[in-house]
């Protein structure tokens, strides 16, 4: 039954939250409807195509987000999405996003970081972040395949000297040798793509301790 459009205020702050091409449409509830059981419906539009398409899994939902990753997986295209609030036979006008361009706007997640030590040096092995995929069986696409200029900013903190230094690398293995003995070193890594600024997500901090001068045993904190 079609609802009366405009009877409700629109959802607000509707945007895409995109990380590694996992594209979630999110919005805030309409203002002034606290305590009202509002539901939402979502549509999306592929720029240059002909019409708005329903997202069936996000019809009459009560949550304020909708995963449109599958519908927006061609990252070289641009998209719009919109949501409206429904309550009984009343509904709001559509609240619409700006034009969303996944290739330029997705946040690049951190690489996986494997940190090992032989007691005197640290070796850091990075695994590139992966593009979102619909189901686990699909083969993974590394973001390095999409962004050939993807780089990593590795920062190392010497907890004894309280000094931090960084290194920008494109290769995924690096070794810092001749470290100070009996010292805890902590490592953070960020992926970045030269070009329009994107929100950065550093990796989890990982620390490893070099050994005292005598024995050679591994201690990873």
């Amino acid at each position: 039954v079609p609802c009366v459009s405009g009877g409700l205020p629109k959802p607000t702050n509707i945007t895409f939250l995109s990380i590694n091409m996992k594209n979630i449409l999110q919005w805030n509830p309409p203002q002034g409807l606290q305590g009202v059981e509002v539901t939402y419906s979502v549509q999306y539009f592929i720029y240059g195509q002909k019409k708005w398409l329903n997202k069936s899994e996000c019809r009459n939902i009560s949550r304020t987000y909708c995963d449109l990753s599958a519908e927006t997986s061609d990252y070289e295209r641009q998209y719009y999405a919109k949501a409206k609030a429904i309550w009984g036979t009343n509904c709001s006008k559509w609240a619409e996003t700006g034009r969303f361009y996944p290739f330029l706007e997705t946040q690049i997640g951190p690489p996986e970081v494997a940190l090992t030590t032989d007691g005197k040096s640290i070796s850091i092995v990075l695994t590139a972040p992966k593009k979102w995929k619909k189901n686990p069986e699909e083969s993974s696409i590394s973001l390095e395949q999409i962004y050939s200029n993807l780089k990593y900013n590795v920062s190392v903190h010497n907890t004894k000297s309280n000094r931090t230094w960084s290194q920008c690398v494109t290769n995924r293995t690096l070794v810092f040798s001749w470290l100070e003995p009996d010292t805890l070193y902590c490592v953070l890594v960020e992926s970045f793509v030269p070009g329009p600024p994107r929100l950065a997500q550093p990796s989890e901090k990982q620390c490893v301790s070099t050994l005292k001068d005598q024995a050679s045993t591994l201690k990873v904190k």
């Binding site: 240059g48 019409k51 641009q78 034009r99 330029l104 050939s148 070009g195």
Partner: protein, 153 residues
């Protein structure tokens, strides 16, 4: 085969575009029409045709789009002027590629360019200019992807 690498201030152009993206794209009400983003145009250009298509697209924007736009607001005018003058500079560096015969135009490149002009011509001129300006992010991303390298030919 040596490639034509043009040097450019991509960071500045992207920054200028970000300054006008929302305002310009909001004025583009024909969401069902795209000038650059069709499968026959930018997405299907082969490496061999990159130089010619770049040359043709820079000319398209310099000779048509920026002129047809007729912007009055200083804030937007500063940004489009920045991009227009950057395109002018890129045209000059591309000129050297042509002199070194690195910018041959095959039929595929000519066809792709014609589709862009034809789509532009089907819209009212101001709407076409606004749509083309709103698609500068597509062009800049394509140029950056296909012209990665610092030295000019």
């Amino acid at each position: 085969l040596r490639r034509c690498l043009i040097s450019m201030d991509m960071r500045r152009m992207e920054e200028s575009f970000r300054g006008i993206k929302n305002a310009i794209q909001a004025k583009d009400t024909f969401q069902n029409v795209t000038i650059l983003s069709t499968s026959e145009t930018l997405h299907s250009i082969k490496p061999l045709d990159v130089c010619c298509v770049t040359k043709n697209l820079l000319a398209f924007y310099v000779d048509r789009v920026f002129k047809d736009h007729q912007e009055l607001s200083p804030q937007i005018l500063r940004k489009t002027s920045s991009i227009a003058n950057s395109f002018l500079y890129m045209q000059k560096t591309l000129q050297r590629c042509q002199e070194q015969r690195l910018c041959h135009c095959r039929q595929e490149a000519i066809n792709a360019t014609r589709i862009i002009h034809d789509t532009y011509d089907q819209l009212e001129v101001r709407s076409a200019a606004i749509k083309s300006l709103g698609e500068l992010d597509i062009l800049l991303a394509w140029i950056e992807k296909n012209h990665q390298g610092t030295s000019a030919a």
